[in-house]
């Protein structure tokens, strides 16, 4: 018996140091992430208005979601926002970073200028853009009127059809500099010899971009895509500040809908915390599933590229 435990102790010894190093972070993660997530899952299976004791609902909140028209509108807006921002917030910063990396004059000035919106809080930039978009005296519509485009002055945040494009514009403006800096750093690591070799082979600038730059920085691009996807699925603060999900849910996303269910719209009562938490769990699952798919596809592409080489 004593020999057995001595042998077990000997086998565990090499793992002791790594376990001790990982333990603090593991305990913190367990307390700050796993426990609240488990608590949220439990709450999503209950009905609770925050006042009395919760009552068991089973999967009732999830089945209710299936017949909730507004939930599906919010899901559609979330998908629309995510799709557009993933495309725009990946391609535009990548193109701009490539341009800045090509050695144009004033590159560092442009980088600083582009990065400036990133340091402004989302709530503040939302308020600033709400002023710019104001349909009657906002500077954007004033400019359009001044150049003779009075008939083409949108209602921006107030229009059922113009509100989502408006919030996407703000999102692109706000995050452009952040992703540009990431791409710029990645481009700095692309070996110059690859470009020189491609140039010798007669590749033009566009061809060098497609066949050298894009494949070489693909792992970074994948990170940007995953970040944009997760941010898109959980987008809340900017939209809440600018529109509170309105007009009449025309810009509601899953997160703003969750918030209005949990806390009511401005001045509202009737909190449904269990139902709101069920939406939160859906957001979490969507983020995990979509990110896993993207990472898996990204890895396959990497593998294909390596095989081609």
């Amino acid at each position: 018996m004593a020999t057995q435990s001595a042998s077990l102790s000997l086998r565990l010894r090499p793992h002791l140091a790594p376990i001790l190093f990982i333990a603090p972070a593991g305990v913190a993660l367990l307390l700050l992430m796993a426990v609240p997530i488990a608590d949220a899952v439990l709450l999503s299976l209950q009905n609770w208005n925050g006042m009395g004791p919760p009552t068991w609902a089973g999967l009732g909140n999830y089945t209710k979601l299936l017949s909730d028209e507004t939930f599906f509108r919010a899901l559609g807006h979330t998908a629309y926002f995510t799709f557009c921002t993933v495309i725009l917030q990946t391609i535009l910063p990548l193109l701009a970073a490539s341009l800045l990396n090509s050695g144009i004059r004033g590159s560092s000035v442009f980088r600083t200028l582009y990065f400036m919106p990133v340091v402004i809080s989302l709530a503040i930039s939302g308020l600033l853009w709400a002023m710019l978009f104001e349909p009657n005296f906002g500077p954007i519509n004033n400019f359009l009127r001044a150049i003779g485009l009075r008939a083409y002055t949108p209602l921006w945040l107030a229009g059922q059809n113009s509100v989502m494009p408006s919030v996407i514009i703000v999102s692109v403006w706000q995050s452009f500099g952040f992703y540009l800096v990431i791409f710029f750093a990645a481009l700095q690591n692309v070996p110059r010899e690859l470009y020189e070799a491609a140039e010798l082979d007669g590749a033009n600038a566009w061809s060098r971009f497609l066949n050298v730059t894009v494949p070489t920085i693909w792992p970074v691009t994948l990170i940007v895509i995953v970040l944009n996807t997760i941010n898109g699925i959980k987008v809340f603060d900017q939209i809440w500040v600018m529109t509170a999900g309105g007009p009449n849910y025309a810009s509601a996303t899953l997160a703003t809908y969750l918030y209005s269910i949990a806390f009511g719209a401005m001045g509202a009562s009737n909190s449904r915390l269990g139902y709101a938490t069920a939406i939160a769990i859906v957001i979490l699952m969507l983020s995990v599933v979509v990110s896993l798919i993207q990472i898996r596809l990204g890895r396959r592409r990497n593998l294909d590229s390596e095989l081609e080489l």
Binding site: P247, N248, S269, S271
Partner: protein
Amino acid sequence: MKKLVVTAAAAVIAAAIHPAFADTTLKVMSWQPAYVDGTDYWAKTVAGFEAENPGVKVESNFVPFSQYLSTLTAMIASDSLPDVFNGGTKTGELGRAGILVNYKEVFDAAFFDQFFAGPLRQYTFDDKPYALADMAQIFGIFVNDRIMKEVGVTVPETWDQLIADVPKYEAAGYIPLAWGNLTRNTCPDFFLPLVAQYGGDAYALDDHTAPGISWDSKPVIDALALLQRLAQSGVFPAGINGIDDAQGQQLAYQGRAAMLYGGSWVPGIFAQNGSKDWLDNYSVHKVPALTPGAIHYTGDGAGEAWAVNAKSANKDLALKFVEYIFRPDVYNWRAKGLQSFPALKSAVDQIDNPKVREMISWMSTDSANHILFGPGSWDAVSNVCQSTLDGSITPEEGAKKIEADVMAARGN
């Protein structure tokens, strides 16, 4: 020595008188930005209470209105409500759940008689007043007389007159009546009194228990139809659902709008933010009526009302604080400082602004409910209001949708 003994005895007696309140912090929370340390009249109020109650410290917490109700919801869920707070639209639910003190069990009839009836009624549920209005409010239209003269129109007596005059305002380059609905809470303020103008009762609709009462009834449909007609005729600014209250006021300050819809607290805001042109030329009038000579029903009541946490360990002290802040001499400091419509009738003399005094005079003749407390009511009405303004729903569909949403929120 004798003096020392007497002093010591007095100190012991004083400590014995206030044993429960010694070294107690009373937590007070509101969305009124003036109720913070450093505002003369609030500081005076707090200092007075602390002086009368040795050992007590009043902690004033301000939460902006836009975040107030979500903060309150989180506090309710985490069982961490302050001792005294503005209950807002959650007052009814909190009171019925036994979380708020029923003031009827604490104060006598003479105490309640001090208040204007409308604000008191608003926070009374099942005959139990769960909150006491801090300041009252009533809505009206603020008119730029210079612009009206330039356009060649008079202040509209009826909604039809206002609609008929729209081409004149537009020809002169002005928005007839400005306000904003980005935060969704102003449209119900505007719309619910219209229901009263058509013979409906917003209290009964909110309660939704009386036979035959429903949101898809004729007064509601008629009021939504009028709201939509006003929007489609160009009475309101373009994109009203994308304009917030401050931007609506800017339209008036900058001389882009002839009139502004607002409550009795806005003259105080005008004094701080208004342009010279606006301050020199504005007057206040009742909202238009349906027909000449009809009642100009407009929103009354109170946004902020003080409630006491029934589960608080400091409940007795909290009630003492509420009684103190509504003592006429103490209340007068706040009324004088805020220059807003007072909830206590005796404090009307403290209001210097003739426009606010004019609005106060409407309370007994033209007031109607404009705040909803029932589960789901406010969300349902504010959402349909937005759709009615942008024309994406018909009045009939809107009324049906309010009814359906309210019933769904109440589990029916």
